[in-house]
Amino acid sequence: MLPFLIRRLGQAFLVVLTVGLLSFLMFRFVGDPVVSMSREDATVAEREALRESLGLNDPVPVQFATFIGRAVQGDFGISYRNQRPVSDLIAERLPATLELVFAATVLALAIGIPLGVVTALRPRGALSNIVQGVSLVGVSTPTFVTGIMLILLFAVTLRWLPSFGRGETVDLGWWSTGFLSASGWRAIFLPALTLALFQMTLIMRLVRAEMIEILQSDYIRFARARGLPDRSIHYRLALKNALMPVLTITGMQIGGLIAFAIVTESVFQWPGMGLLFIQAVQFVDVPVMAAYLMFVGLVFVALNAAVDVTYALVDPRLRVRG
């Protein structure tokens, strides 16, 4: 286990460094922070002074070295936009995004898995075709359109659910959660659904493909030949095997969900990291962008590692012997 962890750590370090380099390269080009930071009628001298003080006139390698040097110490600097420490901003926004991603994942699994099983058991049945068709329409529609449509239906027309925000949040230490209030639950539903739609379809298809494959396998045939009831074969035996790759993909996709939360969060005004990032991009808030990107990279590596470990725990063949 130890060499594994060490390898993972090394890998995490490399990934984050690369991401850091890439994001750093990116800042040079997304725009000029000075414009957003100064008054509309700032004089040329004022702008120049600001640029100088931000170190934007230094040679690029110097800037990169400074940036990485501070980043490895966990210091991502201070946001250009809010003048608050970036780590605070990220910590403040993290709960919202993670709760959204978590809710979306749960929703995707809760709907995707049963649908996948149902469509696998009758791969050519009418129900299977309908479910697959509807889910495809869902993923064929751009997220931002789906989001607005859901708002129009559930918030404006039916007035069942709120169209924006997180509802009431409760602070548990530094973590602010929306799961402890009724309005929080109501608020998370639409964004989570919007975000989950793609994953849901993915999981459904994956479960379906895996189930079809597994249902043909020898051990399922053997189970059948021993007269075990279909329900227990499908849901107890086959599903457990089919869920292994689903676990991997779901784990990996969480990274993608965090990224896709950018769109969902800006449609639903969900006060998470995606919203923070998109605003940072508009403002050319370099420290926030850098921290966000490196954070997402880190989450990705961590998820990868977590998936591997879980895999090893769930699959007895991979468990450490002795």
């Binding site: 045939r221 007269g227 007895p316 063949r317």
Partner: protein, 555 residues
């Protein structure tokens, strides 16, 4: 041998038919079995043997359907709508223990699930039963082993677990579909013995589906010979082996390589004289390299595989340890040994596909060792060709027969090649007009012939055959073996012949080496090794050999 059983049949089948999309895979078969009796169903691949088993379990794959005019168990018609028919009345033992067990559940949970479902036992009783069952199938220390996962058992033990699962509810009839063909010789004998004793002790009837005549001879009471969905002969085993009456039965029996003596060729009625084109013969011989060079010499060969797999756990495997031997011109050298003994590793090193860690190989005088640079390998492989075990993966499924065979013909003009390929195909017993087809259009035996033709097209002096027939059924195996022998005789090919099938070795090889855990424990002339083995391991191996005393002497 016991006499034909009385009328108190346990199983009685009349007029069983299995249809796949209109084509009859089983075409009206009658089978009977009495308690305690093992009825073997034999026949070539595709004869419909497994389909009989599937029909009995009502598990014929969807597009297929089955019907029978009569199907009774202990005189009562089998009603598949009842829940406990499968598993409690009729059970099954599958072929491959590697895939038949769900890897994610412990043996205990699989057993408990099974007995609780069928017998409605309490959790505690079911657990006790699980332990009993493991004990019964001969797994030592069942109390602890019961909580293990399938991957923690060896192949033989897994097959025992499969049997435990099949028999946990004490069925009256068990169908064993190739229960031993995935197992090593030593394990195979034990498993057969286990099935035999359980049937006898419990009075359970068993349908043993197999193409292993050794197994048939060893444990079955009666045998049904199937061909093209029909039973061509049903007779007590001893009688069938000694004096088959139906022509097909005779061919089948003749194709079984005898263990106890060497025969020249298998007496197969339908393989006539091989057509041979003299110009092909000339072309094939034109490449003969320096006659003095020893085709293959292996000295002090060693190979260790690092630990592999997830998280790099496990210990290194010494696949080969200090192996030395030589193959003379025109000689067929046999290499035997149980699974994992290093046979394929040796073949791959000899073929220059894998680098040895220690020692050296000389192929027609060209050296190959750990120090040989990769770019020298293409030269090294000149004059050598290989025939692989699995005829399905050894042909590129997207390449036509013509392209496949032409591949090793370097520098042969296309027009010439277009003339040679049909001749080669004829040489291996295939009609030349199959050239344009792709592999999926051929049966296993036919594919193996194509693979041999491809090997010949490389005009080798040395042919390495890694288990060339173990994927084929006996009658096809006999044909391929005959073909290889003819090629050796006609072309003077030298061969490294790898197999785990001792009878085959006896029929094919001039000399034989026995590998055990990577070491060559025995080396000598085949007859000498068979008659008076020196190594203990060889003796043990030979003792597992099935005895087919009733087999009539082949002509």
């Amino acid at each position: 041998m016991r006499s034909i059983p009385a009328l108190d049949n346990r199983l009685r089948i009349r007029g069983l038919e299995v249809l796949y999309g209109g084509a009859a895979a089983v075409d009206g078969i009658d089978i009977d079995a009495v308690p305690g009796e093992i009825v073997a169903i034999v026949g070539e691949s595709g004869a419909g043997k497994s389909s009989v088993g599937a029909a009995l379990l009502d598990l014929v794959d969807p597009p297929g359907e089955w019907r029978a005019s009569e199907m009774t168990l202990d005189g009562v018609p089998i009603d598949y709508k009842r829940t406990h028919v499968r598993g409690r009345d009729i059970s099954v033992i599958f072929q491959d223990p590697q895939t038949a067990l769900n890897p994610l559940f412990t043996v205990e949970s699989q057993l408990v699930h099974m007995v609780r479902h069928h017998l409605g036992l309490s959790q505690a009783e079911a657990k006790r039963r699980a332990v009993e069952m493991l004990d019964e199938v001969g797994i030592a220390d069942p109390e602890t082993r019961v909580r293990a996962y399938p991957h923690q058992f060896s192949g033989g033990m897994r097959q025992r677990v499969v049997i435990a699962l099949a028999l946990a509810c004490r069925p009256r009839l068990v169908i064993a579909d190739e229960p031993t063909s995935a197992l090593d010789v030593s394990v195979r004998a034990q498993i057969l013995e286990l099935i035999r004793s359980i049937c006898r002790d419990r009075g359970m009837a068993c349908l043993l589906i197999t193409h292993d005549m050794g197994a048939v001879a060893a444990i079955s009471d009666r045998a049904v010979v199937m061909r093209h969905g029909k039973a061509v002969e049903t007779a007590p085993t001893g009688q069938l082996l000694a004096a088959p009456t139906a022509p097909y039965s005779r061919t089948l029996i003749a194709a079984v390589p005898p263990v106890d003596r060497k025969i020249d060729r298998f007496a197969l009625p339908d393989t006539g004289a091989v057509v041979s084109d003299p110009s092909l013969e000339r072309w094939l011989r034109a490449n003969e390299t320096d006659a003095a060079a020893v085709p293959l010499a292996v000295t002090g060969l060693g190979k260790t595989f690092g630990a592999r797999g997830f998280l790099k756990r496990g210990t290194p495997v010494h696949a080969l340890k200090d192996v030395s031997f030589e193959i003379g011109r025109g000689e067929i050298f046999g290499l035997v040994g149980e699974s994992g003994s290093g046979k394929s590793t040796l073949a791959q090193i000899a073929a220059g596909l894998l680098k040895p860690d220690q020692g050296e190989v000389r192929l027609l005088g060209k050296p190959f060792s750990a120090a040989t640079p990769d770019r020298a390998l293409r030269r090294y492989r000149d004059g050598m060709q290989m025939v692989f075990q699995d005829p399905f993966s050894s042909l590129n499924r997207r390449m036509s027969v013509l392209d496949t065979i032409m591949e090793p013909m370097h520098g042969v003009p296309r027009a010439e090649a277009l003339r040679l390929v049909p001749a080669l195909l004829e040489r291996v017993g295939l009609p030349p007009d199959v050239m344009t087809r792709k592999p999926h259009a051929f049966s296993g035996g036919q594919r193996q012939r194509i693979a041999i033709a491809r090997a010949l097209a490389g005009r080798p002096s040395l042919l390495i055959c890694d288990e060339p027939t173990s994927a084929l059924d006996v009658s096809i195996q006999a044909q391929i073996l005959n073909l290889l022998k003819d090629l050796r005789d006609d072309l003077g090919l030298s061969m490294l012949f790898i197999t785990h099938d001792l009878p085959v070795v006896r029929q094919m090889c001039d000399r034989v080496g026995v590998l055990h855990r990577g070491s060559l424990v025995e080396l000598g002339a085949t007859e000498a090794v068979f008659e008076s083995p020196r190594a203990d391991y060889t003796r043990a191996l030979l003792s597992y050999l099935p005895h087919l005393p009733e087999l009539q002497p082949a002509s």
